[in-house]
């Protein structure tokens, strides 16, 4: 009896703490603007909000909207650093969802994901700077194009990257999984080397010097180059990406992907054309990366091949693995955790140590700057996750919710077809 009441109290306490964080942290963040702890607490509250089963869906939606559309922008006006971190999280979340289609849903290891990101970025950057005039005469068309074209380029970036993914996948998707991983890695390296050297004989990419200034997006002539603009663009794209990925996962295509991941031969025996399905997953993943590449180029205004190294691919892979392969909420959490770790915790920790060194309390040589040891941290994370929790923090769970919604919505069709034979 005593145990039960103790459990009950603990349960209540946990619920209260959760709800407290959900409701209070936005206020705290607003009041203590620029406080790192309040910021992390706020991010935690978004996660708790997503996980909470005490609040009904409507209240959850309202809180989420208030958090995302009111609190974050308000905080951003006062302190654009945090807004930028959140925007980064959004960008990586979309990339991670795209990679998750390949790695999580279909079980194909793509180590060259950043190659597709680069393709998208250069697709926009070349035309949104004067770079394109190196191979298209200014007499015909004068570059850069205006930022109004950005929106169309989001789609062009998707199509071009998706097509490159298709071309690469066509021969290599027949290979075994680990070979595929190495080939994609090689592909990304080839892309990087080519970008580095394609400044001659015709200057397409401007080589290692990179391309700048890339036109920021514009909407009917209004230039959108503030952090807050990018925040809202990313928010919309993230919303669309989540919807698309969820719908795919819960369709015949998503089921085929999962079946291929679970047992390739059994899937083939069910009549699933595996090469076609793998190509589809591969191209869709690439398309997401291409779209974000366009955004990245516009947001940074400067791109060079060094932004698209192997480390970037591994960072995105770490998000997918940490969050939970195959689970969309999971990989968003993964993106959040990795970006916060990378941009925030490691940097803050470095700053803290530097301050201590400056103050003469301790003496940490600059070689030991924690911000320089991303690989060590991510390597450790990957190994530990693989050993102790290979399914990630939020493991994927199959449900029939989507289909049941359709069943509920559509009235029973009158004339039913024969179930078993035609």
């Amino acid at each position: 009896m005593e145990n039960i009441s103790k459990l009950f109290h603990e349960y209540i306490k946990r619920e209260i703490i959760q709800l407290g964080i959900i409701f209070l942290s936005p206020i705290l963040l607003y009041v203590f603007n620029g406080n790192g702890i309040a910021f992390i607490l706020f991010l935690l509250s978004l996660f708790l909000l997503h996980q909470s089963n005490k609040l009904n869906t409507k209240i959850k939606a309202i809180i989420a909207i208030v958090d995302l559309i009111v609190i974050i922008p308000l905080v951003g006006f006062a302190n654009s650093y945090y807004l930028d971190v959140i925007t980064q999280i959004g960008i990586y979340a979309i990339l991670a969802i795209g990679l998750n289609v390949v790695v999580g849903f279909t079980g194909l290891l793509n180590l060259g994901y950043v190659g597709f990101y680069a393709v998208g970025a250069y697709t926009y950057a070349i035309f949104a700077t004067s770079q394109a005039n190196n191979f298209i005469s200014p007499a015909i068309l004068k570059f850069p194009i205006s930022g109004n074209w950005f929106w169309l380029f989001l789609i062009i970036g998707m199509v071009v990257s998706g097509f490159v993914g298709f071309l690469l996948g066509l021969p290599v998707l027949r290979l075994r999984g680990d070979y595929l991983a190495i080939v994609t890695l090689g592909f990304a390296e080839i892309i990087r080397i080519v970008l580095n050297n394609l400044d001659k004989p015709i200057n397409f990419t401007n080589g290692p010097k990179g391309i700048t200034p890339v036109q920021p997006p514009a909407f009917f002539g209004i230039v959108l180059n503030q952090t807050i603009h990018y925040y809202f663009i990313v928010l919309v794209l993230l919303g669309l990406t989540i919807i698309a990925a969820n719908r795919l996962n819960n369709s015949r295509v998503g089921r085929a992907w999962t079946a291929i991941r679970e047992d390739e031969l059994a899937a083939r025996t069910m009549g699933i054309p595996i090469v076609k399905m793998k190509l589809l997953a591969f191209s869709i993943g690439a398309a997401f990366a291409g779209m974000m590449g366009v955004l990245f180029a516009a947001k940074q205004s400067f791109i060079d091949p060094s932004s698209f190294g192997f480390m970037e691919s591994i960072g995105i892979l770490a998000m997918v693995i940490m969050g939970g392969m195959g689970n969309i909420s999971g990989v968003i959490i993964g993106a959040l955790a990795v970006v916060v770790l990378q941009l925030h915790i490691l940097k803050e920790f470095s700053n803290f140590l530097r301050q201590l060194t400056v103050a003469g309390i301790i003496n940490i040589p600059s070689q030991l700057d924690p911000a320089k040891y991303e690989r060590l941290v991510f390597g450790l994370i990957l190994v530990l996750m693989c050993i102790f929790r290979p399914q990630g923090f939020l493991p994927a769970k199959r449900t029939m919710e989507y289909i049941k919604k359709h069943v509920k919505k559509l009235k029973k069709t009158e004339n039913k077809k024969d179930v078993f034979v035609e």
Partner: protein, 319 residues
């Protein structure tokens, strides 16, 4: 054309030297793959650690003044042996800590774990060297300065001769071990059929450890040879060599020991000749900077058209 024929002997020497390094690293990939059907992604970092271990030994001998007192080949041999022991132990340790716990999980998991190990080691070496030496780029002490004049224009550095001799000794003894020694035969048995081998009273776990020990040891030796040949190493040096060596292993037929040797030497030659001639053949449009593209393109082409490689057997998935 004359320009090209004149380059051939020098390119041959360079290509063979590079090819021998690739071949020895490729052996590590191919042996582990043969036993576990697993690409040991961290092998490139084992190579790198070996390079650091060997170089540190040479640096120690230099600062302690031994390097002038003992003959250079002996110094090189000592460095190689210590690097092999160090890397071999590291390889076994990595297998126990990061691979064995995930052996029964899907292959993807083990592979990702290997990537994690690889990344961890890069920065770990940087951290250690940074603390110890305050710099993480090491210049290798010069061991051999002389060259043999083969013709008036063609010189063969003594260094290269020693590297080739050591590489050949390593490969021949590995072949003898695998084909003649009891443990080598057990290794081949495990590679063919792990379950049956364990029924034949072969301790599969120790054979796996032994494979990692030898494969990683070879990686360490290759690292030291690389360091002596190219005179500069850093913690990120393994990645590209590893990719090339893996390409070599696939080229020769992954799982096949003679295949790895053949693949390594061929790839070294192809790369050096490719880089040398690419500029001339394309009138300067494509230069030597595309040599890495060249290697990766070879990898992709082999995997597509002959995934079993030159000397490998076609393996079919069991139904």
């Amino acid at each position: 054309m004359e320009e090209m024929t004149g380059m051939i002997p020098q390119l041959l020497i360079d290509g063979l030297t590079l090819g021998f390094v690739y071949a020895i690293v490729a052996l590590g990939y191919t042996m582990v793959y043969g036993i576990l059907e697993f690409i040991n992604f961290a092998h490139s970092e084992i190579f790198m650690v070996g390079a650091f271990a060997g170089t540190e030994v040479l640096l120690f001998m230099q600062s302690a003044g031994y390097l002038e007192k003992i003959p250079a080949p002996l110094a090189l041999l000592i460095a190689i042996i210590i690097a092999m022991v160090f890397s071999g132990a590291l390889g076994v340790f990595i297998e126990r800590v990061a691979y064995k716990p995930v052996r029964s999980a899907p292959k993807l998991v083990a592979f990702i774990s290997a990537i994690g190990v690889s990344f961890f080691l890069q920065d770990a070496v940087r951290l250690v060297e940074g603390l110890w030496k305050n710099a993480f780029y090491l210049s290798t002490p010069t061991l051999f300065t002389t060259s043999i004049n083969i013709t008036n224009t063609l010189k063969m550095p003594v260094k290269v001769i020693y590297i080739m001799i050591i590489a050949i000794i390593i490969m021949v003894s590995l072949n003898l071990f695998v084909n003649k020694h009891r443990l080598g035969k057990a290794m081949r048995a495990v590679a063919q059929d792990r379950d049956t081998a364990s029924l034949m009273a072969i301790n599969v776990n120790s054979i796996i450890s032994l494979t990692f020990l030898i494969g990683a040891g070879l990686g360490g030796a290759a690292g030291t040879l690389f360091s002596v040949q190219y005179a500069l190493i850093h913690p990120y040096v393994g990645f590209i060599i590893g990719m090339k060596a893996f390409t070599a292993a696939v080229f020769g037929g992954i799982g096949s020991i003679p295949g790895a040797m053949l693949g390594g030497i061929l790839l070294g030659l192809l790369e050096v000749f490719g880089a040398g001639f690419l500029g001339i053949l394309t009138n300067g449009v494509l230069g030597a900077e595309y040599k890495d593209v060249f290697a990766f393109a070879i990898l992709i082409i082999i995997l597509i058209f002959k995934p079993s490689g030159l000397l490998g057997k076609t393996v079919r998935e069991k139904v």
